[in-house]
Structures are given as structure tokens and as C-alpha cells.
């Protein structure tokens, strides 16, 4: 089996150049989906019979929260690739993903709290999902602190990779907590195509737009931060010098 593609993907220069070409398209699609999703969610979705118009928060909270669960798996994969194949780019992704993940998790927690204060009657409860998501936030801050504490060295890279792999256990807990324990956060929902159902297409189609938009935002932000880190780490390389000279 020819593995040259794998090592080519690991080249920082190749990544920098290719991502530069893809970014405008990704941003274009993201902005379109975001505009459609937000407009639809705010203006057109019918209000909930119990929650009234707070159901608009659903369209921010759900995409952000579900994508926040992707960070530890991403970091674990990047960490494993780094530990096994010594791929520099994998460690770059591992480094930049952690703070972005903290942002996502914080927004998921904050939006959920603000939604709950009037619909559940409380800002916070030590529910299975809320607690494990808060733990994820602390773990991500931990990964960031570990990197700084070990002064971004080879040891820091290994330690962060290991912590990321371990942190994936928590993601399983977050995802299944609502099925394992019958505490406050609602259980998983089934979306159907039938329009007469409580959660018909007029409810979940805008959600699809928002999920796509937020997912693309995640990719774009990650790519932008990765590019920055690559420039800093590869500053002694000829291709970086040429790039800087041209700009």
C-alpha cells in the first residue's frame, strides 16, 4: 500500500498552501448557511407550546454543544498520529484545537444555562450531562495549561497527547449521560420527516443549516490557527521566508 499521501499531508508547507486555496470557499459556504440558519431560526420557527420563543436558543446551543464533543476525539487522533508517526503537523493541530475547544464548551455551557434559567427554573444543576460537559471544559483548560507549563517542548506535546486520549472517556459519558441517568437534561431526540410530528422538518431543517455552519466554522478556525502555528514553528524554512518576502 502506498502511504506517500499520508506523509504528504503531514508536510506543513503542503498544508499551508492547500488550506490557503480552500479557505475562501469554506468561508463562503459557512456564511451562507449561517445567514439562512439564523434567519430561519429567529424569524420563522414556530414557538414551543411550553418554552415559547426561547426555542431559538436551541439553534445555537445544539450545534455548538454537539461539535464541542468532537474536540477530544480530534485531539486524541492527532496525539496518536504524533506519538506513533512523529508527524509535526499532528502536534500543531493538537496544540491549537485545545483553546478553541474550550471556547466551544464554554459557549455550550453558557447558552444552556441561559436557556435553562427560565425554562428549567435554574441556572445550574449537577445533572449528568451538565457536570460531564463542565468537566470537559476543565480538561481542555488543563491541556492548554499543560502545554504552557512544559514550555511547549517535546514533553509538552507527549503529555497533551496522552491527556487528550484519556479525555475521550468523558466524551462517551457526556453523550450517553442523558440515556443512562434520568436527571434534568432532556434525553436524545428523534427527528422525523413527517410534518405532523412534534419535531417535523420545519424544526430540524434550520438545525441542519446551523450544524453545517458551525461545523465549517470549527474547521475554518482550526485551519487558521494551524496556519499561524506552522508559520511560527517553520520560520527558519525557506518556503516561509519566500512567503513572507512575497507578502
Amino acid at each position: 500500500m502506498d502511504w506517500t499521501w499520508f506523509h504528504k499531508w503531514g508536510s506543513p508547507k503542503w498544508f499551508y498552501e492547500l488550506s490557503g486555496k480552500w479557505l475562501p470557499w469554506l468561508v463562503g459556504v459557512m456564511v451562507t448557511c449561517l445567514l439562512v440558519g439564523v434567519t430561519w431560526a429567529l424569524l420563522f420557527v414556530p414557538q414551543d407550546y411550553q418554552q415559547g420563543l426561547t426555542n431559538r436558543i436551541f439553534y445555537v446551543h445544539v450545534p455548538v454543544a454537539s461539535i464541542s464533543l468532537a474536540f477530544f476525539p480530534l485531539m486524541a487522533m492527532a496525539g496518536t498520529v504524533f506519538l506513533v508517526w512523529r508527524m509535526k503537523l499532528a502536534d500543531v493541530v493538537l496544540k491549537v484545537a485545545a483553546p478553541l475547544g474550550a471556547w466551544f464548551t464554554a459557549l455550550a455551557l453558557a447558552s444552556g444555562s441561559i436557556w435553562g434559567v427560565d425554562t428549567w427554573g435554574t441556572w445550574w444543576v449537577w445533572d449528568g450531562r451538565l457536570t460531564s460537559l463542565l468537566l470537559q471544559f476543565f480538561l481542555l483548560l488543563g491541556v492548554v495549561s499543560l502545554r504552557t507549563a512544559l514550555e511547549d517542548s517535546e514533553g509538552a506535546a507527549r503529555a497533551c497527547a496522552l491527556l487528550s486520549i484519556v479525555g475521550c472517556i468523558n466524551v462517551v459519558v457526556i453523550k450517553y449521560s442523558v440515556d443512562w441517568w434520568n436527571t434534568l437534561h432532556q434525553p436524545s431526540t428523534n427527528f422525523t420527516l413527517a410534518t405532523d410530528q412534534a419535531n417535523g422538518p420545519e424544526i430540524w431543517v434550520p438545525l441542519i443549516f446551523m450544524i453545517v455552519a458551525v461545523y465549517l466554522f470549527f474547521a475554518i478556525s482550526l485551519i487558521l490557527s494551524t496556519r499561524n502555528e506552522i508559520l511560527q514553528r517553520e520560520k527558519r524554512a525557506q518556503w516561509v521566508m519566500d512567503l513572507v518576502a512575497k507578502s
Binding site: 449561517l34 439564523v38 429567529l42 424569524l43 420563522f44 420557527v45 414556530p46 414557538q47 415559547g52 420563543l53 426561547t54 431559538r56 436558543i57 445555537v60 446551543h61 455548538v64 504524533f82 509535526k88 502536534d91 478553541l100 471556547w103 459557549l107 453558557a110 447558552s111 441561559i114 436557556w115 434559567v117 427560565d118 514550555e151 511547549d152 517542548s153 517535546e154 509538552a156 506535546a157 466554522f217 475554518i220 478556525s221 487558521l224 490557527s225 496556519r227 499561524n228 508559520l231 511560527q232 514553528r233 517553520e234 520560520k235 527558519r236 524554512a237 525557506q238 516561509v240 521566508m241 512567503l243 513572507v244 518576502a245 507578502s247
Partner: protein
């Protein structure tokens, strides 16, 4: 449309604080994490330009040698942003 006028839209049926603070945070989150890295990219390139100019007296590394930087090449204090 769920609202008959703009006033109703802003009020969100009494849930103005909840809905608008969440969407406001969302907007700040998006802006910070898109605009931030873009601005940093320009800053890095500017700083590198200056740095290369200062090092111009020292012969640069040959084109055949790719960067030897380890996963965490120590950056100087000024570059640590």
C-alpha cells in the same frame, strides 16, 4: 414569520434577555475566533519580515535544508502571543 412587527421581534415574547444574550455571545464567539487568527496571521508575517531583515547579515540556511524545528521550538518572549 412569527412576529407581526419589529417590536415583537426584539421582545421575543418576554424572553429578550435569554435569546439575545445567547445570540450575542455566539456572534462574539464567531468574530473572535475568525477575526482573531486572521489578524494574528498578518502580525506574524509582519514580525517575520522584520526579523528576517534584521538577520540579513547572517547567511540564510540553504534551500535544501528543511526546518529542523522540533514539535515545540522555543519561541522568544516577543513571539509568544
Amino acid at each position: 414569520m412569527q412576529f407581526s412587527n419589529f417590536q415583537e421581534f426584539i421582545e421575543m415574547g418576554g424572553y429578550a434577555f435569554n435569546v439575545w444574550s445567547v445570540y450575542g455571545m455566539f456572534l462574539i464567539f464567531l468574530t473572535f475566533n475568525l477575526y482573531g487568527p486572521l489578524r494574528k496571521n498578518r502580525k506574524i508575517i509582519r514580525d517575520l519580515k522584520r526579523r528576517y531583515a534584521l538577520n540579513a547579515q547572517v547567511p540564510p540556511m540553504s534551500a535544501g535544508t528543511d526546518s529542523q524545528s522540533s514539535p515545540g521550538s522555543k519561541t522568544t518572549e516577543e513571539e509568544r502571543t
